[in-house]
Amino acid sequence: MNSVVNGLITYGFLWLIFRVAGKRTLSETTTFDFILLLIISECVQNALVDSDNSFTHAALLVVTLVGADILMSQITSRSSLMEKFMNSSPAIIVDHGNPNAKQMKRSRIQVADVLSAAREKHGLERLEQIKFAILEQHGGISIIPFD
């Protein structure tokens, strides 16, 4: 029973922490963000595995975590409200070359982040070349250039 309960509580806790941290925390944009995710996985591992190193415990944990993920995806696919609650929603941060300052401040994004994504994905150089820049649910920035 502990395997399932620990797995569900850990999954729920991590979801809550990353949901509250905001979309950008998920995107691994900086070395520190990447290191943070590595360290978090180490912290959680001890709580999940504890002193039980059996294959059975590991298998039960994996089944519980994957099952929880499937359940989440089923719930979010059936309800747009639950989808927004669980996974947030994308937000427009640049509209026809004009940065949405309020949205960018909320999302802790700088113009430099948008320009970096624009260069990386489309080879664009200036904000004026961007029709829409969208902060996606996973924290990445999508760029739609002008035709």
Binding site: S89, P90, D95, I144
Partner: protein, 159 residues
Amino acid sequence: MENAPIDTDDDFQRRESIAEKIGWLLMGCLAIASLIGLFGEGPQSEKSLSKNGVSITYNHFVRNRAETSLEIVYHQSQSSRLTVAFNNDYLFNLELKSILPKPEIIAADHQTIFVFPTDSRSGEKRIRFFFEPQSFGRYTANISVKEDTTFSFDQIIYP
């Protein structure tokens, strides 16, 4: 927005931003609570009880499977054995890792008695129990030192 490729919902974004800030505040409060010892080891957790020249220092807040210690300080005036008795209700939730100095252990009805040898030198003596909680909850320790001095305290063990 003109021909926006997604459904923008400013109201949701605003409420989400507020919820995030509340979450950050709670996380900050959690960190501060931990620093002051509300989750184990810290000024709010370390407690001391004194009676008849004997004092016990313990952590009021501990965490499951995290080692903690309990120290007994007493004044030895003559060469005699010292007994420390713990109630079994309390001990059964712990794994005793080590005890310094090493005692003789006697099991009694509802207690476990630790008998410590003493030397001829009088003065302040210390005993330390190192243990690891095996379950979480609130437990009451009843500890008798020298058979005539009893301490009773609660410990909260976090999961």
